[in-house]
Point group: C2
Chain length 446, copies 2
């Protein structure tokens, strides 16, 4: 059996993951408007033989527009532009099951997979918050469990649509005038609680069969969903103990769902703040934290955990927070923030600094050796199959990571030195799914 | 006043617009699967200084899969890949108001406009047919007038979303920590019959303000919609007389709607079958018609006009067709087909040959001079502001057009020799819309 290898995803976000990145002298705000900036980031990550790059997304404006950076680009289209300048690296876009139709979403991702030659991944989100719902004909959002019920049915439909053209459905014989074997193109005839979809999809089967399915929810509903569907999970873990508990629990659930545990890769987020010395790294982290705008950060925290803290004094400890059962937003992120604040008895201002680097993801400031040690420790001891790398400043933080940390990971035999597989599933060591309709005698398209 | 100039759109479709193009020895079916093929087409069109390229689309499988070519690529993503290899040419994608949400669609087109530097256009379709509806939770489609009611409200919402960030909303002052002027970012608070959308859009205002709005419906409802919203209309006209009648009527409706008639460009479709001599051109047209598969063509005709002709004998004239008021599909295309068959007393087989070249668009076989004469005649005499060029074979038919017809149009002073404007609206001589929220004292985003 081949030695187990590390998997690395480069999470791309504007000019950096630290919320004050755009205010730091090492970044250039004009990059926010530049496709070339994002294309450059993808090329840097590909030079570092990352498995994939990833873009987050939502369906509303986040934070207050006065102090928060707004998107220009939608992920699937931006990744298509990145596909044009890269050859190997995977391209993972976030899209919501809450506010789109399965047929449209399946089509978009099939198209990205075709265009990129088998490099598409879908980060599946259910989307919390009433503000999002209000852009889609509703006053309030569905409650947490209902969102996951919709997501589960959404996945039943989209995977069936991707399967609706079997791998060998295409004949393409111009002389005979035969394009496809119509016995291998299937209606899906889904009739469920949320969706009724006849099919087939109006796109032939894409190189990967289905895009890589990624997920980030870590609540009980989220883990159950991941155990059934996810092939990679981007998770936020603040301590080694929490990370091993989550890892063990999720792998157990995957096995219980009848899947091979190694077919789901767990990738905690890490914000690597790099310096030539530990002191330099800590100085950079402090520079960034000093640039946080408290009113903006409080508003983001309020949106993140669903508890209004805008009138809470900055230098007092957090108020007592309700049990997670009362939360209808992102439950696992709420628990992470609550545990962090309680464990370290943080004031609101201290908590904002702790969250400013990575919105709940772990910030590790240190030398390249220290970052590599951290990654190796978690990888070798049941806390992670790899990492979701969230550079605090972009492009510099990703460049530094590729030039200083990646060589260490390679020299330790943990990470590939060149791409070995031909598509995104291959990079993550995942199988290509067979069409669910293969070998079944089913009705043809009428 | 500047001299009136011709506008040309290159309608890209697989390996050609003739339905038997993929069976002809001059095409390569492997191109159907190739992004590079479409990128090459866009580069050829840009060499010919076309205003734009355009991709059709639907939300179902068309025709029978055994004999019909199915899509791999979705238009917005494919055009993003074309944006990466071109600099000037406009990029027009078809998307339906019937089966998507305004917030998602507005976001996608804003993103394409950002990525391409102001080259995005939206061909607005309402989508006929129950098969499409059955992919979106319905058994039957909305009836014709209701589809246009939905489309009108859809446009109210999307244009308001594109306007929700005013042109000068962005401040981006890192030192002060101010990203945007929150008095210039607006909720749209739309509450209508079909949609309730709060806004603002989660994308800053794009280079063109709004994408170019294109439309193709030519029914009475379609023309009323075009008069209110469209900036370019792709129409199908078989005769000069029909074309001038349509042109005059639509320009009158535009003026009646309070808009300048020159702010809507009328572009009839033309399928140019080119040869060094007229005889050569006619021979190519015949070769292509001989490759039509009748069973497939009958099925496409049935879907196009909404009348089942699959059991009608090929060599008999069409049966009497019902009045257009009984048609719930594409009304104007039904009328065009009925009038063509009646005017020329065509058998079903003859009608299929007439439609095989361009699905109702005019096929003109001849020398480059004859094609240029045809274009000039229509352009100078009130039948067209330009043409939607539908090459029967791709890439060869588009290459031939660019190398032989474009130089004639240029030498006659009808067409540009280089790009003069910096975005798609500029190519078509259309103004950049101001945000509807500009200069109004409105509530800010809370």
């Amino acid at each position: 059996m081949a030695e187990r290898k590390l998997h690395l995803n480069a999470f791309l976000m504007g000019v950096g993951h630290h919320e004050a990145a755009w205010r730091h002298p090492r970044t250039d705000v004009s990059a926010l408007d530049s496709v070339a900036h994002f294309q450059n980031l993808a090329k840097i990550a590909e030079r570092g033989t990352f498995d994939s790059v990833f873009l987050a997304d939502g369906v509303q404006i986040w934070g207050d527009v006065r102090h928060s950076i707004a998107n220009r680009f939608e992920p699937v289209t931006l990744l298509t532009a990145l596909a044009a300048v890269t050859e190997h690296i995977g391209l993972i876009a976030t899209a919501s099951t809450g506010f789109s139709e399965p047929y449209n979403l399946a089509r978009l991702f099939a198209s990205l997979d075709h265009i990129s030659g088998g490099r598409a991944g879908w980060n599946i989100v259910t989307t919390a918050g009433d503000r999002s719902a209000q852009n889609f004909n509703r006053d309030t959002n569905f409650e947490h469990a209902r969102r996951y019920e919709r997501a589960a049915e959404f996945l039943e439909v989209t995977t069936a649509l991707w399967d609706s053209w079997e791998d060998d459905a295409l004949i393409v014989d111009p002389a005979a005038g035969v394009y496809a074997d119509d016995t291998k193109v299937h209606e899906i005839n889904h009739r469920g609680e949320w969706f009724c979809v006849r099919g087939p999809l109006n796109a032939t089967r894409s190189p990967q069969g289905r895009p890589l399915l990624v997920q980030a929810g870590s609540s009980e509903d989220g883990k159950a969903f991941a155990a059934r569907w996810a092939e990679a999970v981007f998770t936020a873990q603040q301590t080694f103990e929490d990370a091993t508990t989550f890892y063990t629990d999720l792998k157990r659930l995957v096995a219980k769902a009848g899947r091979a545990p190694e077919h789901l890769k767990v990738l905690p987020g890490i914000v690597p703040v790099l310096g030539g010395t530990e002191q330099e790294a800590r100085a950079l982290a402090e520079e960034l934290d000093d640039l946080i705008i408290p009113t903006r950060a409080v508003r983001q925290l309020t949106e993140m955990i669903g508890i209004d803290l805008t009138d809470h004094p900055l230098d007092e400890p957090l108020p007592a927070l309700p049990p997670v059962s009362h939360i209808n937003g992102a439950k696992s992120r709420f628990e992470l923030v609550r545990d962090l604040a309680e464990r370290e008895r943080l004031t609101l201002r201290q908590l904002l600094a702790r969250l400013g680097g990575g919105r709940g993801h772990q910030v590790v400031a240190g030398t390249p050796e220290q970052i590599a040690d951290h990654i190796e420790l978690w990888f070798r001891n049941g806390a992670a199959d790899g990492f979701n790398v969230m550079a605090p400043l972009l492009p510099s933080g990703l460049e530094d990571f590729v030039e200083t940390v990646i060589p260490l990971l390679r020299s330790r035999g943990l990470f590939r030195t060149e791409y070995e597989a031909k598509n995104l599933r291959g990079h993550y060591g995942l199988p290509r799914p067979e069409s669910k309709f293969a070998k079944q005698p089913l009705a043809t398209v009428g």
